[in-house]
Symmetry: C2
Subunit: 160 residues, 2 copies
Amino acid sequence: MAPKLARVEPVAELEDSAPVDLASLAGIVGYPIRRAQMAVFEDFGRRFAPLDLTPAQYSTLVAIGDNPGRKQSDIGGALGIQRPNFVAMMDELERRGLAERTRSGADRRAYALALTLAGEALLLRARAAQAEQEAAIDRALGSNERRVLIGMLNRLAKLT
Amino acid sequence: MAPKLARVEPVAELEDSAPVDLASLAGIVGYPIRRAQMAVFEDFGRRFAPLDLTPAQYSTLVAIGDNPGRKQSDIGGALGIQRPNFVAMMDELERRGLAERTRSGADRRAYALALTLAGEALLLRARAAQAEQEAAIDRALGSNERRVLIGMLNRLAKLT
């Protein structure tokens, strides 16, 4: 037996061109934050395609570049990337000659991370591409709103 | 030959307990928006686990519930979900007896979507869980900031 429909007669006469009512979703934070995050990442993807870097790879290069010699587990943990995923990403960055793992001086069981010269060079180009995206975001947001937005996002990141 | 490291001597004496410096990432919008979106979705996951609904399934039930009889392509398009993914999701919602596709009255080649009674009942429980998450978000953000945040997110969603 077919499940009983909540409304026996669907409103089939609705104009196809009428906008779909998403008002219930527009008022909750989870929906627009996902739409906005996807739009920002799609824009990032277009800008970073020539560099062949994903957002996570870019974040990792920045974190290593700003914290040379730190342990793999510290960098991955600070970025909130799960260990197996982070190990796989470091494998890939090392294979491409952008970063290198060496045994840590303080803890021989741990890996210390550093960028190669090729990694530093790519990171410079990537930071320039990032700056262009930030300028586009500033134009979309209006000036001075970035700081307010980032403050709110950081409070939400502590939700869990 | 091993790739040449950008810094020949990694700063191995750094305290392991010193925080990893992520200041360069904290200033760009793409990083905190992803961290915040993941935190909101993880919180959602915990609240919605008893209902066995993902964020995308919840959005779809809301959109169908608020727009009964609309074409599958209209709902999927308004939600920004790619066609093959949306068809797979509707297969799953139909299999679980929560929604149903019927041939559209206006366009016999198209499917019109509606919730079943079971779908309506689950959606009521889901809206209650959602309201609890929104209250938690309001506590994290401070009152009245939700509207400001959503306005900014909607401007970012038009970045692409």
